[in-house]
């Protein structure tokens, strides 16, 4: 198990190296660049040349990459040119990471909290109106663009009804103490209940928008897995022993049905950043997704490089966690 984990982490290192090379080249092949983004189209040749040299973009790409790699190893990923001009890219990341993590966490919790029980219920009531509603609903959930859904939620619940805030992470007037950067957690730790409550309210709409696709997928996989398991002989054995419904549900049905669901949750967590870009943009939520969106608009190479590499690392790590949790659930994997 330990050797396996170490091997996977070494693989991760390789993935990051190759990815950073491809990414570095790809960004510089994109039309436009930081210079046009910063100076606009009407800048003089002279000022353009000056800025290009200042950013080091006049050197051959191999030299640029070598320098980038050298600095990166000592924790210097360059300075932001577009998202938060002048700030270190690492600083931009560290500032915004808690926001996205908090948002993603709530989104995944929502998706799992509703997806698994409803998926189980739909399977148990297969063919009833509840099941049909769930299946149709989850199809719609996957098909509706996140971006459209985010706008719709914002328009209805924030703009029209005014029930929830339309943007940001915290209302301006609130003077909250920062500990971890996770606003809800900070409020709880410092017993600033109003700040925690306010931060939570800011999370509801973006988390709902972000949770829609993972919820729909978790629902469908759970439903299908439970239907499969209900047909298994060992469930009939459990029934033949007269076990109570809760024991059969937890120990014999869900425990087996969870194997494919755990994989799904992992994949969805990994894919969350794509949804976060759009959601954070719509709700002006100051996280990594928003930074990515702005970074692309303004061709902020250092910020984009760091964020995309981290996203890839998160994806690989989540998959590792999924594989390891398999061993916890399924004894047949453990012995291997």
């Amino acid at each position: 198990m330990l050797r396996y984990t170490v091997r996977r982490l070494l693989q991760l290192l390789g993935v990051v190296l190759v990815l950073s090379m491809l990414l570095f080249g790809w960004l510089r092949l994109l039309p436009g660049g930081p210079v046009s983004a910063l100076l606009g189209e009407r800048a003089t040749e002279e000022s353009r040349r000056q800025l290009t040299a200042q950013l080091g973009l006049d050197q051959p790409i191999f030299v640029q990459y070598g320098k980038f790699l050298g600095r990166a190893l000592s924790g210097d990923f360059g300075s932001s040119t577009g998202v938060q001009p002048g700030d270190a890219a690492l600083e931009v990341f560290l500032q915004r990471f808690p926001a996205t993590l908090e948002l993603s966490f709530f989104a995944i919790v929502l998706a799992v909290l509703f997806g698994i029980p409803l998926g189980y219920l739909a399977a148990r009531r297969r063919g009833t109106w509840l099941d049909n509603l769930g299946v149709v609903g989850s199809l719609v959930g996957v098909a509706v663009p996140v971006f459209f859904l985010a706008f719709l939620l914002k328009y209805v619940f924030a703009v029209e009804l005014g029930w929830l805030p339309a943007s940001g992470r915290q209302t301006g007037g609130i003077d909250a103490t920062r500990v971890t950067g996770f606003f809800v957690l900070d409020g709880l730790l410092t017993r600033e209940w109003d700040a925690a409550w306010d931060a939570l309210q800011h999370l509801v709409l973006p988390a709902m928008a972000l949770a829609t696709i993972p919820f729909a997928v978790v629902f469908r996989i759970t439903r299908a897995a439970v239907l499969d398991v209900l047909d298994e002989d060992y469930v009939r054995t459990a029934e033949s022993k007269g076990l109570t419904t809760p024991v059969i549900r937890r120990r014999h049905v869900l425990r087996n049905a969870m194997l494919p669901v755990v994989t799904t949750i992992g994949l969805q967590t990994g894919a969350l950043l794509a949804g976060a870009v759009l959601t954070e943009k719509v709700f002006a939520f100051p996280g990594l997704g928003e930074a990515l969106a702005i970074g692309f608009e303004r061709r902020d190479y250092p910020v984009l490089q760091l964020l995309i590499i981290v996203a890839a690392m998160v994806y690989v790590l989540v998959n590792l966690v999924v594989d390891l949790s398999y061993a916890v659930i399924d004894p047949r994997v453990r012995v291997r």
Binding site: T237, S240, K241, G242, R251, D330, P331
Partner: protein, 326 residues
């Protein structure tokens, strides 16, 4: 009063958009306290459905069950799902065909044995674990304490079936139903499991319904044998009566198609003609008629009734007269 009295049990599957299908058609039999009764017939004749009906394990939707199943005088077919849940594992135990798929792959053997003790005996986990170790020992599993922590994939086929028998007998039910318990096992293991079952029912006084498609399996085990064909009992007799003088042509066919140790060398096994899909509904004539060597004109028109004949029950217009060649 018999321990279990099944009277006119009928199970009809009714799926939307399909014609109703009668899987069990007026089956009656009784099991006395401590008795071993065989239900024998080819695959698809309704043996499993009969046992699931007794256990209350048929799907809730798309099935019509009628007739009567009395256990110690109580009518099981009208009991609430909750009452049946209390009975299963406590009064009625069941062992299924495939031991690997019948065990939960991700739950340890220990938990799968103790959960039934916790449920019906109200034992604590630690007490139940001690009892479970004794149970595994009783069914002949060596080193039971270590086995409790193991998972089904770590056991051999025979050991798995022993563990399932231990689970079914954990709460000392009055009736055990074994549905083809040896079909999925190797021949040598089959014999061991049959010996174990026969020893356990003798020691504990548990009544046993032994379900099989193989008359050879019931030969050494059953007091009485019911032969089923297309959802109906066609012959019922005490074991030696049935083996010595099978009267129904179907029983005769089943007996001729199994290898016998006492048969003269070189005698060929005679399979029954046709397959069970040749069934005609029992509503018109005898369902076995299309495959029957003794068929008469009458058999195609008049459904034979169950009649007392020669110390047994028989459903046939033209039974076999001669003795089985010894």
């Amino acid at each position: 009063m018999a321990l279990l009295e099944v009277t006119d049990l009928t199970v009809v599957f009714q799926r939307r958009g399909e014609a109703p299908f009668t899987a069990v058609d007026g089956v009656s039999f009784a099991v006395e306290e401590g008795q071993t009764v065989g239900l024998v017939g080819e695959s698809g004749c309704g043996k499993s459905v009969t046992s699931l009906a007794i256990m209350g394990l048929l799907p809730r939707r798309g099935v019509r069950v009628s007739g009567s199943v009395r256990f110690e005088g109580a009518e099981l077919l009208t009991e609430s799902p909750r009452q049946m849940r209390d009975r299963r594992g406590r009064d009625l135990g069941m062992v299924f065909q495939d031991p690997l798929s019948s065990l939960n792959p991700v739950v340890s053997i220990g938990i799968q044995v103790t959960e039934v003790l916790e449920r019906h005996r109200g034992m604590s986990r630690s007490k139940a674990m001690r009892v479970a170790a004794e149970l595994l020992d009783q069914v002949g599993i060596p080193d039971p304490r270590r086995r409790l922590d193991e998972y089904p994939h770590q056991l051999s086929g025979g050991m798995r079936q022993r563990a399932l028998i231990a689970m079914a007998l954990a709460c000392q039910p009055r009736l055990l139903i074994a549905d083809e318990p040896t079909t999925a096992l190797d021949v040598t293991i089959q014999a061991q499991i049959l010996a174990l079952l026969s020893q356990l029912v003798r020691d504990t006084g548990t009544a046993l319904i032994m379900i099989t498609h193989d008359l050879g399996v019931v030969a050494g085990l059953c007091d009485e044998v019911n032969v089923l064909y297309a959802g109906r009992v066609v012959e019922r007799a005490a074991r030696h009566e049935l083996f010595a003088r099978p009267r129904h042509p179907y029983t005769h066919g089943l007996l001729s198609s199994i290898p016998r140790l006492d048969a003269p060398r070189g005698e060929r096994l005679v399979p029954i003609r046709g397959a069970v899909t040749d069934n005609i509904p029992w509503t018109q004539g005898c369902a076995f008629a299309p495959r029957c060597p003794n068929v008469l004109e009458k058999c195609l028109d008049v459904t034979p009734e169950m009649e007392e004949d020669d110390g047994r029950l028989l459903r046939c217009h033209n039974p076999v007269r001669q003795e089985v060649p010894a």
